[in-house]
Symmetry: C2
Subunit: 256 residues, 2 copies
């Protein structure tokens, strides 16, 4: 496959890259009760793609993913993990990018041939606080754009499939791990954390029942309300008990 | 890295293979209250490795894993899933295999150069019933050998690390999914299924408590004891309710 053109910023030395192998990053944030995914809008084209890149001979996949994220979005993330390697034989066939590259004359002939290989892509999931992000698109992207995870455009290649798989991965994680510490600000409401669970599980949860279950796990701290004007109407705020949170991450939440 | 020499059975046409990419299979069975892993003992050497192989241009990773398993072990498995892609820069550096290959003169010069690439390897987990296996080692292996997962020899390359990661993957799965249908015979005892959980979680579980929790999930059927000689001393036998089991696989077992 040809991978997205924005990846070419690091393509100055093709000979330093492992052939046939790429990485793609699904960067997820939370806003307005919805999970969002970061995409890159390519310069001069109505095309968006996941931030991605290639793997250098001296680095492993984790290092390549961290470097790519930093280079392409300016992000340094705290939660980043590999979740699946995508290898469909036809995953790179997307006429839109070929047309765009030909039109825009963005690549040298050598680079174009290299990009036309079949690529197998290892995908990473990053969870971030959206308002902590200082996004910087790379040379070949016009801007970084957040999209609600349930309302994505038709992204390049198999990138929509990759995002669907990332959501499935989150659905698995949420069943045995506490979640949210990387997505939420320091203080948040019960409604906000419930929204994350509802979004990932794709179903409404009973408010009282959710609150009971999540508090029983012991990783949330409830803060006293400030005594001021209409404050009695404000909801309780919570934060994470990092020690208990990490203990649960280590031991897992299981039915056994 | 050079991957294990047994992989060369399918190396007649290097030009048909994707460079730098391999697959490794962790095939897990259950016997004597312990999980076991299948390894291949290389011909004429005191070296064992995971069954593995390479990826052809016209196949995806799943297809490559299925083909390799069949070619190298004679196995057709029912449970096979990708769990991680290994990419440490030095993962393929293992003097033992170089010495063996030089000594045994097993490879043509062209194949040797190809094998000396750095390989990134996508690992698959297969769960099987050990006594249903009809193992057939390939041309370059002397035999297939099962090892208890907690008592493995020093395998080639990073294969011990791959197995450790496979066990972690099982530990995650066991927290949100029913498990055992691929490992156990049609009928089994409560002690056997408890052993699988204990092995994967690496801790003793209270017998009564385990029984209560696992039966509450509803995917086990208890069979009446046969009325014969000393049969009243025999434990109850169980089998899986496949419909309920599959429903739980679909929906997951969560705390929420």
């Amino acid at each position: 496959m040809m991978n997205n053109d924005a990846k070419t910023s690091s393509l100055a030395h093709i000979e330093n890259l492992i052939p046939s192998l790429s990485i793609d990053c699904v960067i997820v944030g939370f806003k307005n009760q919805e999970l969002h995914v970061l995409t890159m809008k390519l310069k001069g084209a109505d095309l968006n793609a996941l931030p991605g890149g290639f793997v250098r001979h001296h680095e492993n996949l984790d290092q390549a993913a961290l470097r790519t994220l930093k280079e392409r979005t300016g992000l340094t993330v705290t939660f980043l993990e590999q979740f699946y390697t995508f290898s469909d034989v036809n995953r790179g066939k997307d006429k839109r990018i070929e047309q765009h590259l030909n039109k825009a004359n963005l690549l040298t002939p050598g680079t174009k041939i290299w990009m036309q290989q079949r690529f197998i892509s290892t995908a990473y999931l990053a969870l971030v606080e959206m308002n902590q992000c200082d996004l910087k698109p790379d040379l070949l992207s016009e801007k970084c754009e957040w999209y609600p995870m349930n309302n994505l455009p038709h992204l390049l290649f198999d990138h929509n499939t990759i995002i669907t798989k990332a959501l499935e991965h989150l659905k698995v994680k949420i069943r045995y791990l506490p979640i949210g510490i990387a997505l939420l600000p320091h203080k948040f409401t019960m409604k906000e954390i419930q929204s994350i669970y509802e979004f990932i599980l794709n179903k409404k949860l009973d408010r009282a029942n959710f609150q009971k279950k999540i508090l029983r796990l012991g990783f949330l701290i409830r803060h006293e309300k400030q005594l001021s004007g209409g404050a009695h109407k404000a909801p309780y705020l919570y934060s994470f008990d990092r020690k208990k949170y990490n203990l649960l991450v280590e031991n897992g939440i299981g039915f056994i």
